[in-house]
Point group: C2
Chain length 116, copies 2
């Protein structure tokens, strides 16, 4: 069988509030995490909501990183979607955990995408 | 309990090859699908790869739509992530199925994100 991609959904709970409130810092952290995992960054787009919350995406040659944060719940929802074998997802997960200061990290799914 | 978001991952198989090859048409279809589902579109970013393949994201006020397509496998991996109750995900799924001309559609996961 052939599987085209792998997707990890990661839930970060009990995050540092300050880490979730700064849109520019979040964008930099996610771009850095993508690069450190071995991904080639194509573009990133982060948006701050009023009064709070950030949604962001980093498009990589190998697919994407996305994040949505709820500072009021100290929660961040992260997806890492990758095709190809060379992305170190575990490293990305840990890099982001450190940045977010998350007390609890749950990999809510780890699936293959495009299964033939 | 409180659940902040809902995420659907949808695998479209046996798509029309022409639908997967046109980056601009894909972007328009995803923005339209997001709007028709009741979402507020904030931005979209689509990238065509050489020699083929497209990655795209539509950031909506309620979270995101993402897509990655492999024309050579007639396959598209779609995610719809939404917070709030008013997004009609079933409608978005069907709108995209029609555009992609997918012969087989698999909802590979339907999960809550941010569960307290």
């Amino acid at each position: 069988g052939l599987t085209l991609g792998r997707q990890l959904t990661i839930d970060y709970y009990n995050c540092r509030k300050e880490a979730l409130g700064d849109c520019d810092a979040l964008e930099k952290a996610f771009v850095d995490a993508a690069r450190s995992s071995g991904a080639t960054v194509i573009s990133s787009s982060f948006h701050a909501f009023n009064p709070q919350g950030v949604s962001g995406v980093v498009i990589i040659a190998e697919s994407h990183f996305t994040v949505h944060v709820w500072p009021e719940h100290r929660y961040a929802a992260v997806d890492i979607f990758s095709c190809g074998e060379h992305i170190d997802m575990e490293r990305a997960k840990k890099t982001l955990q450190e940045f977010l200061g998350a007390g609890k990290v749950v990999v809510s799914s780890d699936m293959g995408r495009g299964i033939f």
